[in-house]
Amino acid sequence: MTEHNDPKTRRSFLRDACGGAFLLSVGGLAGYLGARHRKNDFVWQIDPYICVACGNCATYCVLAESAVKCVHSYPVCGYCRICFGYFGPEPAEINEGAENQLCPTGAIDRKLIEEPYYEYHIDEKLCNGCGKCVKGCNAFGNGSLHLQVRHDRCLNCNECSIAAACPSGAFKRVPADQPYLLKQADRR
């Protein structure tokens, strides 16, 4: 019965026991996390009804050119001739001249549909997500221009730098099956 006191056996028994415990805990954690797992992963989203268009999206994104862009919900738009998302505060003339525009990158195009209604398009290649037009449209228009995360660009970082910098709590994790919350005409 001397082998029971053999330190080597005792040590290896202890080691095996601890190893087994660790293995069980990994298995347990895997089981728990697997059970909690949902079909849809999470992606980042802006709630445009909470967003205050502070401009942090343009500067805080880890991408050199932000993944947040202005999105135009056409069904909400009033097709105004004088659009406060399009024109600067005191435009010299009401025309498409660059000096009259609010957008710092000239990312908004407009075209006449029928007098006096204009349709506004965002050129996403130029938009930097600064939200200036969103502020203008919210203040004096229907609020059809709003910021949203574009998922073809978003890296879906575990810790989103924009979410950390968002002052209004509009930047959230949402299930990936509904990645876009766009302004709707029927919501008041």
């Binding site: 992963d41 609020g143 575990n158």
Partner: protein, 432 residues
């Protein structure tokens, strides 16, 4: 014409100042009866397909298997190095360092504490697969798979020896970091391990200046002190250490027997080679025993003191939670301590919610931080006691060995061993 512009502007201004919460349809969308123009809808590009994420998980498992095979079976540094570079390119530069095992600790914590959140399956694999492999094969994940380890391993130039007590003390930082990462994730404040990931700005080739400076300085330090992040900061590393202690198989410097030639003594840039121990002189042995007894008696006191300190210090960090920060700001504004307002306080006031509600929420978060502070402090105390205990115990060792916990399985030491050389030469003659 000009008058109409002014009129519209005035009407719009009045509407704007009337302050409706959702300023929708002040101007009803037109019906294009003349041109029959169809109103378009905005585009919604889809997120990255799940399929790609499963590819990441499969690549991870393959890399872990390959690393274990190359380190333990092939015993070939060059191949391990190539695999390490491949991992750096794939997980680092191609996948931009996101989904990583270190950060996944926080996802698991948030899943445990927040019923609204569930961890992606890929992140679960990234968290658990390296643990499992480490339990069987040692830290082969650190050696050849982790991109953060790889970028540091690639710049090791002239490693200096860090004295063991200093190394052990500095490693406390990693335990504090792990605890802080868990606390911040559990309270839903932030994922600080991701936020302060020093190398991710290299992987993305963009980042804030502070993080770039931190990353560059860690790499510069890493030229002289091998893998500083892995050894002194990595929160996942300290978990892997415990698993590696119990690993079934592990790195052995020699393929068969140690001939005590001491050639491997300086082989490890990470200070993970342990030399044989001399027998303890009798009086030292007795003094050591006494010290151990004292330490065991003092252990509860140390833990209690650390827990108390933690409960005082950590609540200060609750400012990392946006709600606490906002509540503090709103309180200051209401008290007249500050004259201006911030975007956050303006946004809060625009919602019209009572400030008491905000204060109550902030207090709840602070209470979580107090409890977390006690637990975290106690945890750090326990780690410190364990470190002191292990420093007071001398283990018997007859050969040169790789430290079970500290070895990153980089396979550098093999080529220093003459027994390995003999084996390799033997193989070479057989094939020749």
């Amino acid at each position: 014409m000009g008058r109409r512009v002014v009129l519209t502007a005035v009407v719009a201004l009045c509407l704007g100042l009337s302050g409706r919460a959702y300023p929708l349809e002040r101007f009803p969308p037109p019906e294009f009866t003349e041109t029959q123009h169809q109103i378009p809808s905005p585009t919604t590009p889809e997120p990255r397909q799940d399929l790609y994420e499963y590819v990441d998980a499969v690549v991870l498992l393959a890399a872990l298997a390959a690393a274990s095979y190359l380190v333990l079976r092939k015993r070939n540094r060059r191949m391990v190095f190539l695999l390490m570079i491949a991992s750096l390119v794939y997980f680092g530069f191609y996948r931009k360092g996101c989904v990583c095992s270190i950060g996944a600790i926080q996802n698991a914590t948030l899943t445990l504490f927040d019923s609204q959140y569930a961890m992606p399956i890929t992140a679960t694999v990234f968290l658990l697969a390296p643990l499992l492999f480490t339990l069987f094969f040692g830290r082969t994940f650190c050696g050849a798979v982790c991109p953060l380890g790889a970028i540091q391993d690639a710049v090791v130039l002239w490693p200096v020896k860090v004295p063991r007590p200093l190394e052990s003390s500095l490693r406390l930082l990693a335990y504090v970091y792990l605890g802080a990462g868990v606390l911040f994730a559990a309270t839903g404040s932030a994922f600080i391990i991701c936020r302060y990931d020093p190398f991710v700005s290299f992987f993305r080739l963009t980042g804030s200046i502070n993080m770039l400076v931190l990353g560059v300085s860690l790499l510069v330090i890493g030229m002289f002190v091998g893998r500083p992040y892995c050894r002194f900061l990595c929160p996942y590393g300290v978990i892997l250490r415990q698993f590696s202690r119990l690993s079934r198989r592990r790195v052995t410097i020699t393929p068969d027997e140690c001939i005590q030639c001491r050639l491997c003594e300086d082989a490890c840039p990470f200070g993970a080679i342990r030399e044989p121990t001399a027998p303890w002189p009798d009086e030292e042995y007795r003094a050591g025993k006494k010290r151990l007894a004292l330490l065991l008696l003092a252990a509860p006191l140390i833990v209690a003191a650390a827990a108390w300190t933690g409960s005082l210090l950590w609540p200060q960090a609750s400012r990392a939670h946006a709600r606490v920060r906002l509540a503090e700001r709103v309180y200051q504004e209401d008290q007249g301590d500050v004259s201006d307002t911030t975007d956050a306080s303006n946004a809060f006031r625009a919602t019209g919610r009572p400030t008491e509600e905000l204060y109550a929420e902030a207090r709840a978060v602070q209470a979580q931080f107090v409890l977390g502070g006690w637990l975290l402090g106690g945890f750090i105390g326990l780690v410190a006691v364990a470190k002191l205990l292990s420093a007071s115990i001398r283990r018997k060792r007859t050969d040169y060995e790789a430290d079970r916990a500290g070895c990153f399985a980089c396979a550098r030491c093999y080529k220093y061993c003459p027994r390995q050389r003999i084996q390799d030469d033997g193989k070479a003659t057989v094939t020749a």
